[in-house]
């Protein structure tokens, strides 16, 4: 009994806090600000508690697996939702259904955690559904805007379709191998064509969730329509978790099929980086812009996936952490500006430095980190990814990745230029930041600045990954 509580500690904590929020909601009518402060405290406790009393083990006859790597990954994602609750506080305070938002988010987070810890295909599918459906409701949270509903409907329809394909793939795998347990796949001797076909279907489901080209078409519309908190959750936490699971599935479960997915990932990585960059160049809406830039970032994660050794794993986990703080900084600033002034195009950001220096610097830091410029953490993240990918010795592939870094710099610099250099007769008025927003942005900035230069963080990740 004890083992159940400590091995599944992260999920159980999330369930506990989910119910606590429910009970607070059912009690006397609380003001949004109070509710939000309580939720922030709960999420902070959740994050800190994730580091203590952890046990590794297997539950439910192999359905649920907990190892040091999964614990590390879950802690990183917990940090993410805590930061979202901080930086998006302005929008959250204005929302009519605040507790429900967090109930949905914690439920989706639970789904992601079960996905990371899944030990067989059934658990994986269940967790994937749990991670997807609440997010569709979260995407619709801007109830006054039709765009929000449009985004939500697009998301739920596309994910339902991809789940259907995934189920078909799962059934084919079960039919051809006779098992749904992950650890038994790696011992398949001969790989039949049916299994390759089933793998492609599974791959398609992952590619949908990760917005890999050509499965990315839902991304821009859903990100633009959803409120910024949901967009942050989708683009950062959901993608990060899916990247973790993708890594585990490819390296451990489908290792015999490496000859299939290696070349597949190289091609898709190039396509993703190039298409993501090309489309980001032309965006004016800041959320669509960040959406396409996140597609390009996922392309970089794919570059590291090609390496297929523990270095790749360490660099991907490290990059997701860096990507988390950088993107949350950028989305945080976008969310604050959107909630305060209802402006979200790059044109509106021109001349922002005059009245909002703190927001401008946080945005600039976040964009530099996303572009991969020293001394911020994004440089180290991207460089370690490319290094892991280069170990496969395909130099032309690395040259394409490096050139894409250069193209990406161009569109990130566009926003920096608008903020710092362009003149605007009507720049954004000074926005007074609340303490929670400042705290969230400062945590993001500190994360961006020190995660790279403070090398013990990467060393810790590398050490944990040795047991992968």
């Amino acid at each position: 009994m004890n083992a159940l509580f400590t091995i599944m500690k992260h999920e159980l904590l999330l369930t506990l806090f989910l119910f606590v929020i429910f009970f607070f909601k059912l009690g006397k009518g609380m003001r949004n600000e109070t509710m939000l402060s309580i939720v922030q405290v709960l999420l902070l406790v959740n994050f800190i508690a994730g580091f203590f009393f952890n046990t590794t083990g297997i539950l439910f006859d192999g359905m649920y697996v907990s190892s040091d790597v999964t614990i590390l990954e879950k802690n990183i994602l917990n940090l993410g939702i805590y930061l979202i609750s901080l930086v998006c506080s302005r929008w959250l305070n204005q929302s009519h259904h605040l507790p429900e938002f967090f109930v949905l988010m914690l439920a989706a987070q639970m789904g992601l955690f079960f996905m990371i810890s899944s030990g067989n295909l059934l658990m994986f599918f269940l967790a994937l559904e749990l991670a997807t459906i609440p997010v569709a409701a979260m995407a619709n949270y801007d109830l006054e805007h039709k765009q929000s509903s449009e985004g939500a409907v697009k998301y739920i329809l596309s994910s339902a379709f991809s789940s259907g394909i995934l189920l078909f793939g799962i059934s084919l795998i079960y039919g051809s191998t006779g098992t749904i347990r992950f650890e038994l796949f790696a011992t398949i001797g001969q790989v039949s064509t049916l299994q390759i076909l089933a793998f492609i279907f599974l791959f398609a489901a992952f590619a949908f969730k990760l917005s890999i080209v050509p499965f990315h078409l839902w991304t821009a519309d859903v990100y633009e329509g959803s409120p910024v908190a949901t967009t942050s959750y989708l683009s950062i936490i959901s993608k990060g978790a899916t990247a973790f699971v993708f890594m585990t599935v490819l390296y451990k479960v489908f290792a015999p099929l490496m000859f299939v997915w290696n070349i597949l990932i190289i091609i898709l990585a190039i396509a993703t980086m190039v298409i993501g960059n090309i489309f980001a160049l032309r965006q004016n809406n800041i959320r669509r812009f960040l959406a396409f830039s996140s597609i390009a970032q996922v392309g970089f994660i794919l570059v590291a996936l090609v390496g297929a050794n523990t270095d790749s794993v360490a660099s991907i986990i490290y990059f997701v952490l860096v990507y988390l703080v950088s993107n949350l900084g950028a989305f945080g600033v976008a969310s604050i500006i959107q909630s305060a002034t209802n402006k979200d195009t790059i044109e509106d950001y021109k001349g922002m430095y005059q009245n909002n220096p703190f927001l401008s610097w946080v945005m600039a830091l976040a964009l530099f980190s996303l572009a991969g410029i020293p001394p911020v953490a994004g440089f180290f993240g991207k460089l370690f990814l490319i290094r892991a990918g280069a170990s496969s010795a395909q130099y032309w592939f690395i040259i394409i990745a490096a050139i894409n870094m250069m193209v990406a710099l161009y569109y990130y610099l566009r926003v920096v230029r608008a903020i710092f250099m362009d003149k605007n007769s009507t720049p954004l008025q000074p926005i007074a930041l609340t303490n929670t927003e400042k705290l969230g942005l400062i945590i993001c900035s500190i994360g961006i600045l020190i995660t790279g230069l403070f090398s013990p963080i990467y060393d810790y990740i590398a050490k944990v990954v040795q047991q992968f």
């Binding site: 410029i373 460089l383 280069a390 040259i399 490096a402 250069m406 710092f420 090398s455 060393d459």
Partner: protein
């Protein structure tokens, strides 16, 4: 004494600038920081000389190794040899001159000095690092400060120039990155320069990696045909920005091409030497002829920088001891000279509000100090003996003449001819600006240099004269470093 002090002092200056409360404080804090950096550089220079004359013949001095990411083979391996010491001295001189020349910047002064100090941090870090990852880190560190400096405080088409500069330099860095990764994996998963120098890399691999590294670094040093960012970038930048860009940033490429590309990949260097010579000779001549067509003083200096930096690459391409030593000297000399030239142009522009040569004349009457310095820098540019330009260019030519093949002789002669062209455009431009009738009556009533500008100019002139009149102190420091590279190169067919 730890070479890390060279990184610590700019960092402390950055923090001090952040907490300074008004513009005067910002300026004086930066000045004190730059002065401490200069003093540090001189201290290291003297300690280096003493250690050498005391018999310490190891190729790298002040070497320290701190682990950074041991699982990846990245360490903070720092140390200096003669070439690095020369470049550090150059950096400190240009930085203090840049701080002084920017004394009157009013717009966002704090951010300006912050970015300037970040640039100098990047330069120092680049020169002291012996680990390729750390080297690349410091190389890239300078991109954003350059972009912001040009884009916010620049003039003319500043956003366009800033964009072009940032993207082309990033493209060069991308090539360097791929080359560095190639070195990393062929040399057994280490980024350490000293360790890689000891492993032998197959000529076939060198043939692939060397062009990536050389072209990547060459973009920084205006290797033809990747020089297109130079004219707009230098001319749109604010004065201190141009001084730094032309004086130091272009030398990052030359140092990288020498230390990383040529030293680590000698077979590759020998294979591509002829192409390097052709490209640099074209760059020298093209830069010189293009300068003759320019009407804007800053564009004149920018194109002449392309021409002079061509000498650096030509010296490296010739692969003889004197030529490479000449290349290093040219880096130092040109750095000082072009920084001074941009400083003077900035001073003139602040007063006359024009950079077009035809609109100015007879400035000697109202600005005697500035025009005298203008003459000195112009004469240095065309290689007058007694000033540093002569020494550097002479060494490059003598070293190039040691290669007796017909191809090398032709290249050397072609490069020599550029001196004549340089003389034409320098004397024409400076002569018509300083002497002759006063074209605009307002110019007759302008003020001469203030104390900060005089101090900046004098510091740089002292550097130029020190190298020009008695170059052996610098050559003696640089030569052992060059010897190490020559030994690695092995025999070169003369």
């Amino acid at each position: 004494m730890n070479v890390l002090l060279l990184l610590a002092i700019p960092l402390i200056t950055v923090l001090a600038v952040l907490i300074a409360r008004n513009k005067q404080q910002v300026r004086w804090v930066s000045f004190i920081g730059a002065a401490v950096q200069l003093e540090l550089a001189l201290a290291f220079l003297f300690m280096f000389r003493n250690m050498r004359s005391g018999g310490n013949m190891s190729s790298i001095l002040f070497e320290k190794n701190y682990p950074l990411f041991p699982s990846l083979g990245i360490n903070m391996h720092i140390g200096v040899d003669g070439i690095a010491i020369a470049m550090i001295l150059l950096t400190s001189l240009v930085v203090i001159a840049g701080v002084l020349v920017s004394w009157n910047v009013e717009k966002m002064t704090k951010e300006f000095y912050l970015l300037l100090n970040l640039l100098s941090l990047g330069a120092y870090g680049f020169f002291i690092s012996l680990d390729l990852f750390v080297l690349f880190f410091f190389l890239e560190l300078a991109v954003i400060p350059k972009y912001l400096l040009i884009g916010i405080w620049g003039s003319g088409r500043k956003e366009y120039s800033a964009n072009k500069l940032a993207l082309m330099l990033m493209g060069g860095s991308a090539l360097v990155l791929v080359g560095l990764l190639g070195l990393y994996f062929t040399a057994g998963n280490t980024f350490d320069l000293v360790a890689i120098a000891k492993t032998s890399i197959s000529p076939a691999t060198q043939k692939i990696i060397f062009p990536l590294l050389f072209i990547g670094f060459g973009v920084f040093t205006a290797l033809f045909p990747f020089h297109t960012w130079v004219p707009d970038g230098h001319s749109s930048a604010p004065t201190a920005g141009s001084m730094f860009l032309a004086g130091i940033s272009m030398k990052l490429g030359g140092y990288g091409a020498l230390r990383v590309a040529t030293y680590l990949l000698p077979e590759g260097a020998k294979q591509y030497a002829d192409i390097i010579i052709v490209l640099s000779a074209i760059g020298i001549l093209y830069g010189a002829f293009a300068t003759m067509m320019q009407k804007d003083l800053k564009y004149i200096n920018a194109y002449s920088s392309i021409s002079h930096c061509g000498f650096v690459l030509l010296g490296i391409g010739m692969l003889t001891k004197t030529a490479i030593a000449g290349a290093v000297l040219q880096m130092v000399s040109h750095g000082l000279m072009t920084a001074l030239f941009f400083a003077i142009i900035g001073m003139i522009y602040d007063r006359t509000h024009t950079r077009t040569v035809s609109e100015m004349g007879g400035l000697m009457k109202s600005m005697p100090f500035i025009t005298t310095v203008l003459f000195i820098v112009g004469l240095c540019s065309l290689g007058l003996p007694g000033l540093s330009g002569f020494v550097a260019e002479m060494m490059v030519f003598v070293g190039s003449w040691e290669r007796t093949g017909l191809f090398h002789r032709i290249a050397t002669i072609a490069a020599c001819m550029s001196i004549v062209v340089t003389a034409v455009y320098i004397l024409r431009a400076i002569g018509s600006v300083a002497m002759g009738p006063v074209k605009n009556s307002v110019h007759g009533t302008l003020s001469d240099a203030g104390w900060q500008e005089k101090l900046a100019a004098i510091i740089l002139i002292i550097g130029i004269l020190a190298i020009g009149l008695a170059p052996n102190w610098l050559v003696d420091i640089v030569k052992p470093g060059v010897d190490v590279i020559i030994t690695k190169l092995g025999t070169v067919v003369y």
